[in-house]
Symmetry: none
Subunit: 189 residues, 4 copies
DNA sequence: CATGAATGAGAGTTCATTCAT
DNA sequence: GATGAATGAACTCTCATTCAT
């Protein structure tokens, strides 16, 4: 597969992302993507064999983009805040239409997929480190950083889900962030 | 709609619940339900016009069943523990097969549906009361019971989702429960 | 499946036989049959799931028809002649267009199919009996009736194949019949 | 078409023969051959325009190879035996995978093709000569050598077909060979 | 009310064939 | 000559939905 092929694949993934954003995961057909890409039916099959495959490519491409800088030069409290703000954006931003599709995908294909699980683990590690650093430098109070990290991530996940299901105001998210910071002895000034 | 009709509808809903439990939400076809109910294709349409409609009827029927006793005669700490244990069951029990379907449904039809949201609100109120009572009787420490209640519920929701997506051990859930109780000044003895 | 269904199935098989006759086996698509039957795409699938299944039903229906009377009251020589004449018809009759399809089917699905093999075995038994009777009543001379029966059937099969592949004149078939009878001591007068 | 072209054509035919051997005739696609030859899709079309064309080239190439020596210095009985043994090999040898494809081809394209018929005629002539010689030298008894030759060839053809369709043991073939020799007054010692 | 045969739109998939490079 | 990406027609199969009985 040549250089041009990779370009085309990228193009398809890009267009497909829009489609998944609009229609979710399960509702998307090969035809939808073919039409969005303005290529031929058979042409798509040169690159992907199913919507699942395409969707996974979309996820993969997102993963590459969403890497954030580590900012490990900041104070633990600020780093935590930065982390939570980042998550808040994910929760609140209705622009991330893709999320519905991601959840649909997750529930449709269940556990066998570490595609999405990977993100969680990375976040967990990052968060745990921040808390450990915070505790070490007396900025935070926490007996079990790992468990606390889990707790925050679960709560954030819950918020995400709720944001998708019902409507969640930005205030509610802020409220929760403040509360979470409180649980490890931090206060927003 | 006569008495017999209501009976039949109930029967269909019952059988349909099994189907949704086995196959999720999106994968279920009218045909599947027709076969499970051993009624005719046309017959089903006399009662329901889509799998969505049927699934909503299933949800409705579940709502009626799942009401739990309030046990307001117990101490706040025990009531909280009871509440969390109840939620733990929901998370851990793989017997609640329907949950996958519920999430699929939620993500497929988005916010416009308060069908599921109702449960959350009820839980919220219940939990808030418990915490308020706990604080009032000096068993618990919490400045913002409502926010704390939200936090716990979000974390529980996150756990549920994770349980569905990946695998979550009972220990992790216990860990989280203990942690949550700690955040409001309680300890499991 | 009711009485009417069986009728319809028969109807489909009948129409399908014509199609297979015209187009062979492999070239026939579900669409061809749908069109020949003037039913809907989905309708055909109520009765059959593949051209293979339909073709086997066609074979089955032919089997039922082609049963010939046993005429065991005749003299062995005449019975043999009757048998061979019957086979000759199969060979010569170009009206049996289906045969091409049958061979195609045989070669496409190989040995695992006793659908066609059954005919051979039945013929073998019948022919062997005739020869044994012929020998017992001194009309025929043959040391190994079974082997002779096999030989005739193989030769007849070869004739059939040749009839399909190239062109075979009726005279050639007659010639062969006479020769075969000669090998067991019989002569056409 | 240059020298290199002929070479390439030969190469394609060679590779294609393997493919036809494995997959039969009808199941082979241009793509299969392209892949087997590791050439480009378009490249194949420079030499052949259809699988039919390629298959015919395969047949042609086989014809050139399969010529056998005449061994006319042997006694007629031995020559006949040699001939029949040769045929037996064709029947029994499952290594001649191409045969299925040949039959498929024959039945798919019917009589208009003398491609395969040629072999039969050559065999017929050879066999007839053997028998005539045998009769002339009193080794054999046969009133109509040509008809007898036909008979044997048809029986052999029938055996071949049966070998492809069902399973035929080597014993059965030996049995038949012995029987055939018996019909012209010969016995295997 | 109830049936289930029938419909037809539409999804997935494959392949011969072309054509710009 | 040679490539292989691209096309689009054709095929299989499934399902929601209707309708005569």
């Amino acid at each position: 597969m040549g250089d041009k092929s990779i370009q085309k694949k990228r193009y398809i993934v890009e267009k497909a992302a829009e489609v998944f954003g609009k229609k979710g995961y399960k509702n998307v057909t090969m035809k939808d993507i073919v039409e969005a890409c303005e290529i031929s039916r058979g042409g798509l099959y040169l690159y992907f064999n199913s919507t699942k495959e395409i969707f996974e490519a979309v996820l993969e491409s997102r993963r590459l983009i969403s890497k954030t800088e580590d900012s490990s030069d900041m104070q633990p409290g600020d780093r935590l805040l930065a982390f939570l703000e980042e998550k808040k954006q994910e929760i609140v931003s209705s622009s991330d239409y893709l999320r519905v599709a991601i959840y649909e995908y997750m529930f449709a294909h269940g556990e066998q997929d570490s595609m999405v699980a990977g993100d969680f683990d990375a976040d967990l590690q990052r968060l745990e480190e921040i808390i450990e650093d915070g505790v070490a430098s007396d900025w935070m109070v926490c007996e079990a950083p790992r468990i606390a990290a889990y707790n925050m991530l679960y709560a954030l996940e819950g918020l995400k889900v709720s944001a998708q299901t019902g409507i969640i105001s930005e205030e509610r998210v802020d409220e929760q962030i403040e509360y979470m910071m409180g649980t490890i002895g931090l206060a927003l000034e």
